[in-house]
Structure formats: structure tokens, C-alpha cells
Subunit: 270 residues, 2 copies
Amino acid sequence: MGETLTEHENQLDGQDQKQGPDAGGALYRRVAADLREAITTGAYGEAGRLPAEGALAERYGVSRGTVRQALAVLRADGLVTSRRGTRRVVLGNARVQSFSELLSFTHWARSMGEEPGGQLESLIRRPADAAEREQLRLDPGAEVYVTLRLRTLSGTPVMVERTIYPPHVGVLVAKLPPDVVSHTEHLREHGILFTDADHTIDVVAANGEDAKLLGCRRGAPLLRERRRTTDPTGRPVEWSQDRYLPGMVAFSVHNSLATSALSRHARESD
Amino acid sequence: MGETLTEHENQLDGQDQKQGPDAGGALYRRVAADLREAITTGAYGEAGRLPAEGALAERYGVSRGTVRQALAVLRADGLVTSRRGTRRVVLGNARVQSFSELLSFTHWARSMGEEPGGQLESLIRRPADAAEREQLRLDPGAEVYVTLRLRTLSGTPVMVERTIYPPHVGVLVAKLPPDVVSHTEHLREHGILFTDADHTIDVVAANGEDAKLLGCRRGAPLLRERRRTTDPTGRPVEWSQDRYLPGMVAFSVHNSLATSALSRHARESD
DNA sequence: GAGTGGTCTAGACCACACG
DNA sequence: GTGTGGTCTAGACCACTCT
């Protein structure tokens, strides 16, 4: 018939799609995943149109609300547009990393097929200064754990990472062997969860330490990413400052009238 | 009183809150705006908890679904967390610019109380190369309009902007007087809408032209933002490359397990 | 006018956090 | 166990787009 069906038949395999997150996850996530695959496979063409919400609801055997929830995910990822009156339009095959790939250098490197490395240069414990207490929401007199690591991609130096941990996270980090590649993964196993992060991206000049570790000139430009991460309770778990050699990395963001989490700031705040 | 109410009483003023976008906007947007103000005012404390969804629904006289829609907005902005089982927690007073403030240098500058300036250096029309046809989704043989502008903040050079427009937008830009400060605003008046954008941020060295315009050394590091913008139909309307003097600007993004539009890429793609 | 997405409602059950 | 957010449903009306 005239349907726009491709390989993607109706229903979702397995599970008896009841409520609640099943093995694979919520229903709307499975619908979203299926649609994402169909889109990136080119099932709807380059700038093609998606079927109507009602049609999708029928195809997947779910309510329209669930379909809309799935589409909201794709909307935020920049995969499709949406506006009243017309079918949704395919925007492009955005890749968008998972949150963990973004937070973890290790996870990110592996997803690219590169071998991540981490060389712990130093780990010290000292009283937090005012800025650190502010960022990590610590009481006066609290101490922080400060790590300095050189990160490599298949042996090549790429980034210098300076991370400041609050005490409850720092004690765990301090116990890790110095050759552990992924701190993030180990922390997760100890119940430290990373769920939200604020990133600020700009350019700085390499200081003597950066230059020595990265093998660049002192004063050479580096791409800097500062990141404050919190756990699900809103408690800060790290405040990190990563400095990348130019040309090794770039950051991408998608935003829209519907969802905008990107902003531009004047000057430096610190 | 034991209530967590502050100034923010119940109900929303004006309008008889029916369906559909009224004067001020959708109901959930007004709820979101009210909650945002309450949060940034500190009504719930630094790391305080929000009332339960049901309580908010009752207070505002709306359904729980509407409250959840409002909270989803604040969630995406990084203002509050959310997880099953516990009240939402206030994360911080994120500022997050509106989408238009982000796209329009002019709008952004004004929102900071600075005087934006734009000096059109050149505007030419020429055949699109392969990369441009790809980005703007043009047919072989199509032409593009290329502008070069020096952007200033209260008289100080800040950024060099190179924008490539597809024909249907370019013809409008070409008709603008060279001293028009905001191209974006004029295009909007002519029915060209900007709704979605993909940004890539990295570092590049200033070329001769950059150096001359910005008054920096040739080879000096610049913060580069490349941006591809589309209209609601998914049609590309501009492909721009902005180069900022370091220290004048920084980009911020919030992301989380729930919503992630940020990604990190290896090397340069072009 | 027909079709489509945007918004809103009311009710239901589940999974998880916490006391 | 109780409360809370997460997910899902079914139905409704509206605003907008397009033909």
C-alpha cells in the first residue's frame, strides 16, 4: 500500500510493553531508538518527512503521548524539526554522544577506537580556597583533593586534566592505583553518580606545566573546557579544568528555539 | 505557616487559562516562568527542594501533566534535577540565553548593555564549492553569497564573521545597506526564520585577514565557532564561521543524563 | 476544509527513595 | 509503607499549514 514503511515494521520486538522501564528501558526510549535508526539509515530521506504522530502511534501500538515523548528526544538531539501544521522534517544524522561518553575521556576514546591513556602526575589534599568552596559547595575549612593527569590518545599527549574533588569523592580517588585509566568508571562502582554538568569552553595560553606535559610551547593556545558535575541530589562531585591541544578536539552543540542550553558569555569569570 | 509558599501564591494572573497559546504563551510556559523566577529569587534555597508535582498542580490550578511540561523546561536549562522517589532539587541559577540572543550578535550585545557594531568588509556572490553545497544542501551550479564582517562591542573589535548564505537568503542580505547592524533581525522581517542550529567550537590560528581586522598577530589563537542554521522546514539558511579574540567570550553548555546535545569530536572535519 | 502538531486533562500503575 | 517522580493511556480542543 502507500505506506512509508520500510524495514521498520510495526510493534517493537520482545517485551510485552507494559509500563515502567523494562529490561531495555522505557517504551518511548525504544520507540525513539527505532526511529533514530530509521532516520540515520535514511529511511525517510535527507530532508524527508516523518509519518504523522497518529500513524506512528498506531504502527508501534502505543498512545500518541508516548510517541510524542519519543519524538521529543529526537527533537532535542537535532534529528528532526517540529512545528504546528506540518509533518516533522528530518534535519540530519546528528550523532550526539551519550552523556557518559562526554564525561569520560576513556569512554569517549574507546568509542572512537582509540586507546586512552592516563598518567597521574600528582594528587594532593589541601584546604579549599574560596572559589573551590563556592563551586563544590563546601563549608569553610573543608579540604579538597586535586589531581593532575596527562591524557593520551594511542600514546599521543592530548589533554591536561586538573580535577578538584570534594572530600567524599576525593577519598575514593586517592585510593585508586595511579595507573587506573578511568576514574569515572571506578567512582560509579562506588556509588558516585554523574548526572548533570555545566561546561564552559574558551581559549587559554599554556603555562609552564602545560607546555612540559603536552610538549608544546609555553604560551601556546589551548582549548579549555571547565566542567562542574553534580550527582542526582545536586551535590557537586567534581570541578575540572581540561586543556586540549588545538586541532585534536572540537566541541559540538545543537540547540533550537525549542531547547536551548547553550550560551555565550563575555570575558572570563575567573 | 508550614507552607513553602513565598510571594508566589497560587494561580497565574490574568488570562483564563484555557487551552492553546494565549497572549503570553502556553500555560506550561507561564508556570515555568513563574517557577524560574521563584528559583532564581532563592525562594527554595540554594540546594533546596521543590514542592511535589501534585502540590504544584494544585497551586497553579493545572493538571500534573502541565506541571511536568513546565518542569521539563527547567530541567533542560539545568535549573533543577529530577529522579524517581524524591523531590526535585534546585541545582543553581543558570542564566541560559534565549535562542535569539545566541544567534544574533546584536541581540546578545544589547542584552549585556553593550553597543554592538558591524562593519561589512565585503559581500560577494560566487559559485558554491562542494563543501558549501553539502552544508547548505544546494544543487550543483548553485551560487552562494559570502559576507565578511568585523563585529565590535562598544567600538572594540571582538569577532570576525564569515557567513555563507544560500541564494534565497543571500538576495535579501545583498539588498541591505552596509551599515545595518543586525542581519538576523532584518531577515526575520522578510520571513526568514532561524529555528535550529548546530555549533562546533574549537581553536584556530589567525590568518592575515583576521589579524588585520582584529588587530592581533598573524597566527594568534582565536576561538572559532562554526554554525549551521536551518529554518523550521529544515532548510539551511546560513553557514557561518565566527572567530573571536580570546578572553572576550566563552561558551557555556548544560547537559545531563536526561538531555544531552553536547558532544566532543576528534580532529578537524574541514 | 482536512491534516498535523501543540497543549491540556484525568486517571492509572510502576519504580525508587527514605524513614 | 508512604510519598514522589517516571511512564502510559484516551480523549479533547486549538492553532497552524497547505491545498
